[in-house]
Symmetry: C3
Subunit: 308 residues, 3 copies
């Protein structure tokens, strides 16, 4: 999430009533969750396990719940509850704006694009040229869609990610302030859901084709010319490189990478990063050849046990 123009450290700390360590005029040009952080960004950390990671990240400013030595070139903002204060900043910069109609007057829709009936297009949405948005699609605020994109009915683009902080008696929500980006020539099947980024962008790369009922989590990046069959689910913060094929009902856990050109057979479960150019199967997924060999032997277990 970019701040345009940037704010000063002093201004941001003031918004959450917090003290800070750094030049008051130190510029903050973005707000990003730790997985997506870039130079100029403000992030937050509230668990000792991640202090080091945050302090060594690209973040220029960090909301933290402990007085610590400030690293060179960074600023610190002190808070007894960094999560709460980070959320309050997201809400300030990306407030929820209730709709006033099915298609927001702030949306920009390119030439040659057909919007079928029953489509909701939120505030600040941009849709390119020559797209077809089929009936009853929902496009949340701030979504960006390229040219020649087809979105089938019932699909939901830019909904909130599943990102909660467990408190003692309940969950607190990290409000989603990010976006969904759908690049040119993408086709998205009926009833697919693409969550927007927490603070960054969820991206579906150019030419990628989705069957129906696919779920893509927040901040996940899908490469170009991928092909996903129906009911695939990809968690948040995943990187799927170009030309990957996932067959039906594959599940992908968060925070991992699937290499270029990988092919994953149906119903496989991916729990760690996969090298590109290979074929996988199983839950958890292995190289298909290995998985097949093991499955053949499982069928021989009755015979084996009888023998022994």
């Amino acid at each position: 999430m970019q701040l345009n123009p940037p704010l000063s450290l002093h201004q941001v700390a003031g918004m959450i009533g917090a003290s800070f360590d750094g030049e008051p005029g130190f510029p903050i040009s973005g707000i990003n969750e730790i997985h997506m952080v870039n130079e100029g960004d403000l992030t937050f950390v509230d668990h000792p396990k991640y202090y080091e990671k945050a302090l060594k990240s690209k973040a220029s400013a960090i909301i933290i719940n402990k007085e610590m030595d400030r690293p060179d070139g960074k600023a610190l903002i002190f808070s007894d509850d960094p999560f709460r204060d980070f959320v309050s900043l997201i809400k300030k910069f990306r407030p929820f704006e209730p709709a006033t109609g099915m298609i927001s007057s702030t949306a920009i829709i390119g030439k040659g694009t057909i919007i079928q009936p029953g489509v909701f297009i939120g505030n600040h949405v941009v849709i390119g040229r020559n797209c077809i948005i089929h009936p009853n699609v929902t496009i949340y605020d701030h979504t960006i869609i390229g040219d020649h994109v087809i979105i089938h009915s019932g699909a939901v683009i830019g909904s909130d990610g599943l990102y909660f902080k467990r408190r003692s008696s309940h969950y607190d929500k990290l409000e989603s302030g990010g976006r969904a980006l759908i690049e040119d020539y993408v086709e998205i099947g009926a009833c697919c859901t693409i969550d927007r980024g927490s603070t960054g962008d969820t991206t579906i790369g150019q030419g990628t084709k989705f069957d129906n009922h696919i779920h893509i989590g927040h901040d996940t990046i899908i490469g170009k010319n991928c092909l996903f069959a129906a009911q695939v689910g990809v968690a948040g913060c995943v990187i799927v490189e170009d030309d990957v094929i996932l067959w039906g009902q594959v599940g992908v856990q968060k925070d991992l990478t699937i290499g270029k050109g990988a092919v994953v057979f149906g119903q496989s479960g991916i729990s760690k990063s996969l090298e590109g150019g290979k074929t996988y199967f199983g839950s958890p997924a292995q190289e298909a050849r290995e998985a097949m060999k093991q499955m053949a032997l499982i069928r021989k277990l009755p015979e084996l046990f009888e023998k022994l």
Copy 2:
């Protein structure tokens, strides 16, 4: 399903043209399917396998297809087709009422609640305060939603359960007469479906958070502060206690209980009740440690078979 005011045995039997055994004025205060039955309720039984269960249940009155001894304090209604007659009573007390617009004039919507465009709100729906109902959500008749609830686009709350009786040449439908109850602070992801109870209530407990594409069957009760990842499917008549975490694509069979605080890893299949406080994996699910150990050994099968 409560009858308010209660009807007499005589009246109810009259509605389906049936004879009965019991005081004509015996009061019937509810109609419930056998899984959900309470004192005062009328239920039905049409298979000898379940006669005993029905006669020993809390039901006060039973539609039955055999002349039997009437248990003390209960009434019997005799029918050659209890299923058909039970359905006809449900239809009488909860008739389908076609909508006259996107938001029924009989719906009650609390202060501070935002209803986005394209939302359907059926008859007799109650929605509390400070909720956000995102675009293109559907809320069927009789649904009850608490305060501070968020429902994302494409979600369907209160649709009919999958409950059919197999006849020789077709299926007959048990008309759904129950409700969906969504408690305070629940968040429901995009394209989730929560079926209403057959005659009772399907309940999502306070503070529970659902990712996208989740299915909850009829009469299932989800506890407080549960967290379900995308594409989880829970069948009907399940009890999930508080603080349960189900990761992506987990499937849960009907008529079982998942204990408080259980955690189930992605793609697991739950076919029998699980004790709380433990971690599970696999299809069918076992304790994760056991499942992991077995999976590690499966990978050694080629070596083992070669050796032997």
Copy 3:
């Protein structure tokens, strides 16, 4: 896809600017993809691997990218890119017609059918008598629905199939020109998606009942009185015979047949045709008894490995 009236070989070849071998007046009465082809149809073949199959198919005319001997009774149309030319014919005969409102004026809706608010009904759709179409359902152009059908909210009927040709730098889409046919007494759950045929029909047989979130691929034929639980996914070109039961989250690969009366337990993965009248489990699916026995032995692997 039928052509009514038929066209001549000369006319069709002229539309794509191609030369041909055959009587100029040779009649072409339909256009169909190779899996669905019938006598009188034009099909295409662009890969040497399938030349023989196409030449021996029921097709009366074939667009082909090689000069070959013409089989008796057939016509050949020569093209350097049969896929491109076939797509251009589909687009000519089934052009996308943008909607002018939520219910097309060309749709025919039977007596006693209730259309709830927010339902989209495309061009040339036919819906029979005494149906209930719940809110926010989408029915694409050319869909045919019988009598006494119930479709729950969020369902999408007749969306495009997943059928792409991989080019060197992108995928090209086979435009869907087929239909979805929903026979009498079918019930379709919330958020189900039924893709239309590529050029033929996707069919849901009489009396079949679907739970929520089910996906049916293009050109698949589901028999009569089948029962599918939630989140089942069936790929394209599958034949499911009558009285089949698929429990939750079952996945079915393309181009196979499931025999009459088969029962498949939850989360199974079907990768080859299954004989009817039997019960199956596992991914890949086996007869349930075998699968259960193997699973029991897997649980004994730790003991076995310790012993050896």
